[in-house]
C-alpha cells in the first residue's frame, strides 16, 4: 500500500461538502460525445435522479468513471448452476486465466465474510461486493443470502450486488430487496428461443431437465419476468449479453430493445471468449469471438436512450481489486486465516473522500480542456489507446501495461469506448520481442498510444505500424490529454502537415490471461 493511502480524518473535508461538489459538477460530467455511454452511466445527476446517482457513483461496474477509482470483489460461494451455456465450462480452473465461471477456491459464507473484511481493510476503495458464481448465485440461494447477511452486519457500508442467469430470479426478488441489494445483473443473450437453443443445451427447472427450444423459452420468460420485477422493486438492473458472431450478434439489437423497455439501467455487450483449451462447446467447435470493430459497431448501434457498459473486464467469479487488475492471489483462504482483520470504517471513509477529490479534479481538468475545443468543426473521429493503472491518469509504462483503455476522440470530446487486454510486453526489464506484434494487433485500430514511458525499440515498431507513441502527457489526466492531443491533431490536419488516414480492425484477446506476476 502506498503511504499516501492513509490520511488523518481531520485533514480532509466532510463528506457532505464533497457530495455537494459532485452535484455542482454534474456528476462525472461526460458532456462530451454522446454522453450516455462514455461513462457507462455517465452524466450523473443531469439525466439521473439523485437516488440513482447515489447508488452508482462508486460502483465500478455501473459507472465507467467510477471504475478508474473504486474496486470490487467477488466471493465464490455459489458453485452450483441450473443451466448449461455453450460458452461456459466450470470444470477446470487455472489461476492464470480470467473469465467468468472460473474460480480458484470455493468459500463458505463464513470464509467469504472474513475475506471481504480483510480485503476491505487492505483496499479502502473496495466499495462493492458481488456474488457471481462460479455457478449461479440464485441456484445457491442459501449460501448467497447467508453471505449477504453476514457482510451487511459487519460492513454495512459495502454495496451488495449479484449476477444471475435469471432462471430462478422471480422467486427471489423479495429476498434480494430485503437484503438491500442495490444492483442485480442478469445475463440475457436472447429473447427468441430459436436463437437461444443454439446457446443453451439444457436448463434444470422445476425438477426437470429441459432441452432445446423449450429450455430457451422457459429461460427467456423467466429472465424478462425477473427483470420486470426488479424494475418494479426499484433495484438497478444491468443486463449482460455475450456477443456470439453468427448466432446472436444481429439479434442483440432486439435484446437491447426488449430489456430497455422493461427498465434495465445498463446494457453490457461482451465479446465471446472462446478457445479450444477452455473446453467449452463453442471453444471446441471453433466458434469465433467478435473483432474489436464488430463489437464496437454493435455497441454503437444499441446506444441511444440506453446506457451501454464498455469497460467490462469479464472478470473471474473470485476477482479482487480495480477492474482490470486481479489481486485475488493475495487473499487466499490460507493467507486470510493468518491475517488479523480489523474493520476500520473511518479510514475507509477518509480514503474514499480523498478519491472523490481526485475524481473531481479530473472532471474539472477535462471541462477546462474541452472549452478549448469549442467551436472546432471536423468529421474526424479517431481512437487512441492509453496505458493507465488507475486514477484516470496516463500513468503506466508501455511495457508494463496488461491492458490499454481505448478512447474515441471527436470534436464532441473524448469518449471511453473499451479496453484491450494484452500480454505484458516487458517482463523483468526486457522487452519480449514475440509479444510486441500481438500488442500492436490489439490496438491496431488506434492512431496513437498514450504512455507514461516507452523504450526505443517498441517506439520504432509502433511508428512503423502507423501508431504514434505519445509520452508527452505522462502522469496527466487521460481525457484532458486526449482532448489536447486531438486539438493538435486537427490543427496539423488543417495546416496540411499530416493527412488523416483511417485505421484497420483490431483483435480481441482470446487466450488465457496471464496475470502480472
Amino acid at each position: 500500500m502506498e503511504p499516501t493511502a492513509y490520511v488523518g480524518v481531520q485533514e480532509i473535508k466532510p463528506l457532505q461538502q464533497l457530495l455537494d461538489k459532485v452535484a455542482e459538477h454534474k456528476g462525472c460530467g461526460t458532456s462530451g460525445g454522446s454522453g450516455k455511454s462514455s461513462c457507462g452511466s455517465s452524466a450523473g445527476p443531469a439525466d439521473m435522479s439523485p437516488e440513482v446517482w447515489e447508488k452508482v457513483k462508486n460502483h465500478p461496474c455501473y459507472s465507467e468513471e467510477a471504475h478508474h477509482h473504486y474496486a470490487r470483489m467477488h466471493v465464490a460461494v455459489a458453485p452450483a448452476c441450473n443451466i448449461q451455456c455453450n460458452y461456459c465450462n466450470r470444470k477446470y480452473d487455472c489461476a492464470n486465466e480470467s473469465r467468468p465461471g472460473v474460480v480458484s477456491e470455493k468459500l463458505t459464507p463464513e470464509q467469504a465474510s472474513k475475506k471481504v473484511l480483510a480485503v476491505a481493510s487492505a483496499i479502502p476503495q473496495m466499495t462493492v461486493l458481488g456474488i457471481a458464481g462460479p455457478g449461479d448465485p440464485l441456484a445457491n440461494p442459501e449460501k448467497t443470502f447467508k453471505t449477504f447477511e453476514l457482510i451487511s452486519k459487519t460492513a454495512p457500508d459495502i454495496k451488495l450486488c449479484l449476477s444471475t442467469n435469471g432462471l430462478t430470479l422471480p422467486d427471489h426478488v423479495e429476498t434480494i430487496k430485503s437484503f438491500n441489494v442495490d444492483h442485480v445483473t442478469i445475463t440475457i443473450n436472447m429473447v427468441d428461443p430459436e436463437v437461444g437453443q443454439h446457446i443453451y443445451p439444457w436448463i434444470y427447472y422445476r425438477n426437470k431437465r429441459w432441452k432445446g427450444i423449450d429450455a430457451a423459452r422457459i429461460l427467456s420468460e423467466r429472465q424478462l419476468l425477473g427483470l420486470e420485477m426488479l424494475t418494479e422493486a426499484g433495484i438497478l438492473c444491468k443486463v449482460n449479453s455475450v456477443m456470439i458472431p453468427g448466432i446472436n450478434d444481429q439479434h442483440l439489437v432486439e435484446v437491447n430493445r426488449a430489456v430497455k423497455s422493461r427498465g434495465a439501467f445498463l446494457h453490457n455487450i461482451m465479446p465471446l471468449i472462446s478457445a479450444p483449451e477452455h473446453g467449452t462447446v463453442f471453444g471446441l467447435n471453433g466458434q469465433r469471438g467478435p473483432s474489436a470493430q464488430e463489437l464496437k459497431a454493435l455497441q454503437d448501434a444499441c446506444e441511444g436512450e440506453m446506457n451501454m457498459m464498455r469497460h467490462c473486464r469479464q472478470c473471474r467469479a473470485d476477482a479482487v481489486g480495480l477492474l482490470g487488475e486481479d489481486r485475488s492471489a493475495e487473499f487466499t483462504t490460507e493467507k486470510i486465516d493468518a491475517m488479523a482483520v480489523e474493520y476500520d470504517a473511518t479510514t475507509r471513509q477518509a480514503y474514499q473522500e480523498l478519491v472523490e477529490e481526485q475524481r473531481q479534479a479530473k472532471v474539472a481538468a477535462k471541462q477546462a480542456e474541452l472549452a478549448g475545443l469549442a467551436g472546432a468543426e471536423s468529421d474526424i473521429k479517431l481512437l487512441i489507446a492509453v496505458a493507465t493503472k488507475g486514477e484516470g491518469k496516463v500513468n503506466e509504462h508501455f511495457g508494463h501495461a496488461s491492458e490499454f483503455q481505448v478512447y474515441e476522440l471527436s470534436t464532441a470530446g473524448a469518449k471511453f469506448v473499451g479496453h484491450r487486454r494484452v500480454d505484458l510486453y516487458c517482463q523483468g526489464g526486457y522487452g519480449e520481442e514475440d509479444t510486441l506484434p500481438t500488442v500492436i494487433r490489439a490496438i491496431n485500430d488506434c492512431h496513437a498510444v498514450f504512455v507514461a514511458k516507452i523504450g526505443g525499440c517498441p517506439r520504432d515498431e509502433l511508428k512503423a505500424a502507423g501508431i504514434e507513441p505519445v509520452d508527452r502527457y505522462a502522469y496527466e489526466f487521460i481525457e484532458q490529454s486526449a482532448i489536447a492531443y486531438f486539438r493538435d491533431y486537427l490543427a496539423q490536419v488543417a495546416s496540411g502537415e499530416i493527412v488523416h488516414q483511417p485505421r484497420g480492425d483490431a483483435d480481441i484477446r482470446q487466450g488465457a490471461y496471464i496475470a502480472a506476476a
Partner: protein, 73 residues
C-alpha cells in the same frame, strides 16, 4: 439399484445436494457421494433422478449395479 457419483468426474459444484428428495447426498473430500441405502432413484418423487438432471457433467451420476434394483413400497 441406487445411483452413484463417479468421483473422478464430479466437480464438487454441490448442485445435486439440495435437489435430492431423500437427503442421500453429502460432500466427501471435495466431491459428492450418494448413500445407496437412502437413494430411491427418485421413484415416486420425480420423473427423472434429480442428481442426473442437475449435474453439469454428463455420465457422472450413474446406476450403481452392485446394489439391487430399488423397489417402490
Amino acid at each position: 439399484m441406487a445411483y452413484k457419483i463417479v468421483s473422478s468426474q464430479c466437480t464438487g459444484c454441490s448442485a445435486c445436494e439440495p435437489e435430492c428428495p431423500n437427503v442421500a447426498i453429502r460432500e466427501k473430500n471435495g466431491t459428492f457421494v450418494i448413500d445407496p441405502a437412502k437413494c430411491t432413484e427418485c421413484l415416486g418423487h420425480f420423473d427423472e433422478p434429480q442428481c442426473v438432471a442437475v449435474c453439469p457433467v454428463d455420465d457422472t451420476c450413474v446406476i450403481d449395479k452392485s446394489y439391487p434394483r430399488y423397489q417402490a413400497a
